[in-house]
Amino acid sequence: MTPVLALSGVTRRFGPIAVLHGVDFDLRPGEVHALIGENGAGKSTMMKIMAGFLSPSEGTVMVDGAPAAFADHRAAEDAGIVMIHQEFNLAAPLSVEENIFLGREMRRGPFLDRRAMQAESRRLLERLDCPLDPRRRIADISVPNRQMVEIAKALGRSARVLIMDEPTAVLTTRETETLLVQIDRLRAAGTAILYTSHKLGEVKAIADRVTVLRDGRKVLEAPAADLTEDQMAEAMVGRDLTDLYPAKGPGGADVVLSVSSLTVPGHVEDASFTLKRGEVLGFAGLVGSGRTELMEGVVGLRPSTGRVEINGRALKRGDVLAAREAGLVYLTEDRKEKGLLLGKSLAENLTLLALDKFSGLTIDTKAEATALTDAIAEFDIRAKDRLMRAGNLSGGNQQKLLLAKTMLAEPDIVIIDEPTRGIDIGTKQQIYTFIRRLADAGKSVIVISSEMPEVIGLADRVVVMQAGRIAGEVTGEAIGEAAIVRLAMGLGPAGGHPAGPVHTTKGGDLKEAPAP
């Protein structure tokens, strides 16, 4: 079968630096071809070349076996090739229908033909088995539904090739399953799908073929059925990855953080928990179960009622600076919007949280430069040059910079929200090791994570949240997927009575209508 889209000997340079070296790749109708690799391996560049956002420095892009040179992504779209970006290209204040038809509105005379557009939107969404009202605003619908709208938009442009950049990075397990079913359906209809993800289990489940990129070179291409997840990971990283998670510690002794009856209006109801010295405490639960909001309430980023004590002393509510001074910091899950100033230099980002440590009346820029040198070494931040902007770092290196920034405040208690979101497996390992080292050094760490293996592999103790409440706690040997899922679904501990209302059938909707 002729590949619908192929690359032949494609090299791409940015200035003197080549990020792709003579890559061959092909995508056939009716197949899901997974493209995997570490951050910075060249996946994005490759996808952008195929979707017409970039042109190759050498080599050719071929559509239906014939060389094609896209002037821009519109030209690629005209050839039926559509890329769905990780950050959606949707206008939040507009409706679903308006987004699907943005730029190619149907008209009746000089006026918009809303009825026809709504009907067509409905039809497209139905094809995806997504019964969404086209009149709802994008801002009001859930993230997975936005994903569906993006796909519907692509289908509406009669896409034959869908290039999906980490479509499941922000989805829960349940939402991911829904998406995978839809992808399966599209494949059956003959759409060619290029799929990237850091979740190898998912790749194994959905892909027909897998191509692995490392440092801009294709190192492996094989049918997915012939590869194990470990083989994929090793091909990506180029080394053995047997010990992804470091050995656990003894757990904590005395209580350093005690939260009692904390309520964050609209998100969290009456939450109490403690954190011990030298402990890694996991927080599990569905997306939307209130984990992030609870921690934001604890450090004072959200209004809350209740009591927070650090080493027995009450913490002033609603004051992030006071929390930092008491040794408590929160590292956000949203590094691009809440964590880093993408347009600013590395040094400015690094010292922002602990700026007072670098300044008397004025800022000591020499000390800042030294701190940056130290952080680059300690956290293995791979920056092309020291003066570059934080936004130009790869995702994994941004996360390391964010970690370095947080640690510069010399906290005793660190709350890390989704420490490895959108990060490759090699960097994940580094971050896990780092978290464990912190605990071993007598600091205390709370890790919020939606990735079950991460919580299980990392935490000494796991608190599970469900619908804005703390559903229960699992310790030591009992930490396992089954125990956590039961609590996260509101079923109560194994063998016990339900702890709260049962939400098994609509867990995925919790994000849209957070309780209480």
Partner: protein, 330 residues
């Protein structure tokens, strides 16, 4: 901040940094070639002293804009504060006499009134959460109307004897440098240091670049934002202290369009209008460019001085186009 880093765009970036300076040098050369008097001490003093009011205000405006705000009220605020100062000093003459004591009391009034007015803007914007544009559009109207009302539609004049005593604050100086120039220079130098080298300056830029990130980085977001407006109000007070002895009066037409000139100077100087990056020295260059254009048109006979505004407008638009080119180059 200084992104002279990656290869290939060094030239363009240097142009971006040096652009305003080159424009200023070009203007000086043009001025010098057109009129022999241009470089005379008298003319230079005149240009600089008259730039001082807008300049002092524009330094404050740089902080407000860098932090992602805007203040349209400063022109009206200056007029209102000047009115209040004149009324206060006139009222104090019976008690304190025509003395420096009265003048100092007037100066303190100017600063207090400026601080309060800035605080009002800042609190409405940061705490009540109204758009800066709307708040300061409102207070702009309020202060303008109040000064007109205070002057009953006419002019508020400082007592003649007191004015004579006060005059040297504008017309005098030390070592041949006029006071307004000295104050402007001091404000500019301190402003540059505060912007570049203090946590407050860094926080302003962080706030303008991304308020969420600033909040998550334990920056006191509201307090920093309010402080930018209070600082601007304070500098309006300082500008009024220098302005009142110049004419000894305030009326409905005092300070008209100062806010726009100050904003224009900030933008010409390379500060980003939507915030996140600011430089005070650039603003100073911007102020000088604007007043030199005015001065050159007055000295030369080729182009009517009435076209001053048009040329300034072209310069502002050009400055923004250059900023955008820098963005496109990234």
């Amino acid at each position: 901040m200084n992104d002279t880093a990656s290869s290939g765009r060094t030239f363009r970036l240097d142009l971006h940094v040096l652009g305003p300076l080159l424009a200023l040098i070009a203007l000086v050369l043009i001025g010098a070639s057109i009129n022999d008097n241009f470089l005379s001490a008298g003319n230079i003093t005149n240009v600089l002293a008259r730039s001082a009011f807008i300049g002092i205000i524009a330094v404050g405006m740089t902080f407000v804009i860098t932090a992602g705000g805007i203040d349209l009220s400063v022109g009206s605020m200056a007029a209102f504060v000047a009115g209040v100062v004149i009324l206060t000093m006139n009222a104090l003459i019976p008690a304190l006499g025509v003395s420096w004591l009265t003048i100092v009391a007037g100066m303190l009034t100017a600063i207090a009134a400026g601080l309060l007015a800035g605080l009002l803007n800042g609190v409405l914007i940061a705490k009540v959460g109204i758009e800066a544009f709307i708040v300061t559009l409102g207070t702009m109207g309020i202060y303008r109307s109040l000064v007109t009302w205070l002057a009953d539609g006419g002019t508020l004049s400082l007592d003649y004897a007191l004015r004579t005593l006060y005059r040297p604050v504008y017309y005098g100086g030390i070592w041949g440098v006029a006071w307004p120039i000295i104050v402007f220079a001091l404000v500019a130098v301190i402003g540059e240091i505060v912007m570049r080298r203090t946590p407050f300056g860094r926080h302003c830029a962080a706030l303008g670049a991304n308020e969420q990130v600033a909040r998550y980085s334990a920056v006191k977001v509201d307090r920093t934002r309010i402080l930018t407006y209070v600082l601007l109000g304070f500098l309006v007070g300082i500008a009024v202290i220098m302005y009142v002895p110049r004419l000894g009066s305030a009326s409905a037409s005092t300070g008209v369009l100062w806010e726009l000139e100050a904003i224009a100077a900030v933008i010409i100087g390379g500060t980003v209008l939507k915030g996140g990056f600011g430089r005070v020295w650039g603003t100073v260059v911007g102020v000088l460019i604007l007043s030199l254009i005015d001065n050159i048109l007055n000295l030369a006979s080729m182009v009517s001085p009435y076209l001053n505004g048009a040329i300034q407008g072209v310069i502002v638009i050009l400055a923004v186009v250059l900023q955008r080119e820098k963005k496109a180059a990234d």
